[in-house]
Symmetry: C2
Subunit: 209 residues, 2 copies
DNA sequence: CACTGCTCATGACAAACGTCATGCGTGGGC
DNA sequence: GCCCACGCATGACGTTTGTCATGAGCAGTG
């Protein structure tokens, strides 16, 4: 760190929908002389477009953004810009999100509770080709385990998320009402929930929907 | 603004549970030479304690914090430290929260989508004794209107939030099951929801619970 | 090939839920 | 003092649910 400065700085894209935070982060990262911010974005699609235009080394993506969330952007970048390393920062560290992110080829998953200095270090780590996962989130993810839900159970549960009656869920999923009730029932019992609404809540907490 | 600099800088307390954002904001505010950060906090109770210890002119409080949310802290400060002006910053601008905040004597309500420069201006505005409310949030709050729910309807709805069955809600509220169902029914019809679960969702969106 | 697990469906039954009518008490407004 | 809005309750009704048994088609695995 105190030895010879790197010949070429890390080119970074920063995507976050909150100007206040994005601006503040940009200012802090600008203090690091081996990191240069080449683009900023406030939405998922914008992040993708900016990345394609500016070809950063590392894309720092907020998890929750309008348009497309960080993991979706990372997935697109993986094919459209394979040399670009992606990392996710987030306020809400749900275990399931971590899994989803890693599956999408994300190299780092960081909660917003870290310091800016630490974030800069992680950017360097990622740029060097390594991975980083917040230890606490990793522990949560391991203890939460995999989703016990089958694909259809998860799908039906998601459609039930806004409190819609079974008839509507059935129509939207093109299933019979009886089938929908069966899936909801098995999903709820797998999650140890009293009813589908509590099941939705639990699945959400664990990032399984 | 471009005239003589103020003789004494604004003493500011900054409370946010995300280190990354708090640190970044602190750095940005430090650039403003008429603003000095006298304390930082990561939780509601900590914010209160720090405020009492350092007596800032303005307390900048995040709405969502562990322990006690920004509005609760503001309420406490109003009585414990009346000279301290409070302002709320938040990611999620629900109309109801704005109402609640203003009722608690908060002088400004700002979404995190503003720029740091703007935030600094608002801090000065608040310090000067004026108020500031984000125009867009204000419009939302006005169009959303007041909660049509009675106290008990809101209370029962809140207990129903986690998907608990009527029997459990009745037990927790010390009401009969029939009464609970009546309240839930009237609340749902007032909100135009199909059932209590959708009603909970709607009420949450509008900040009425 | 047999076996297992997922998908999708049907029918039936009990429990939970939404709705309505009705009633009583209490406190504020005119 | 009367009336109305609200809080609280009960009982009854039909509908929506959760649950279970059962079965058929279809993938993947040993």
């Amino acid at each position: 760190m105190t030895s010879a400065p790197p010949p070429r700085p890390v080119r970074v894209l920063l995507a976050d929908d909150e100007h206040l935070i994005r601006g503040a982060l940009a200012a802090l990262l600008a203090l690091e002389d081996d990191i240069v911010l080449v683009a900023e974005a406030a939405t998922g699609p914008e992040a993708l477009a900016m990345a394609l235009a500016h070809r950063p080394d590392v894309a720092v993506l907020d998890l929750e953004m309008p348009g497309a969330d960080g993991v979706n952007v990372a997935t697109s970048l993986r094919t459209r810009l394979p040399d670009c390393r992606t990392m996710i920062v987030t306020s809400h560290g749900r275990p399931g999100h971590l899994k989803r992110a890693l599956a999408a080829g994300v190299r780092a998953f960081v909660p917003k509770t870290v310091s800016a200095r630490r974030l800069a270090e992680i950017i360097r780590t990622v740029h060097a080709g390594n991975r980083y996962v917040d230890p606490e989130l990793a522990a949560d993810a391991i203890s939460a385990g995999d989703s016990p839900l089958t694909a259809r159970e998860a799908e039906v549960l998601e459609l039930a998320a806004d409190g819609a009656p079974v008839a509507e869920i059935a129509a939207r999923a093109s299933l019979s009402q009886g089938t929908v009730r069966n899936y909801l029932s098995s999903a709820a019992s797998k999650l140890g929930a009293e009813n589908r609404h509590a099941a939705v809540r639990l699945a959400r907490e664990r990032g399984w929907v």
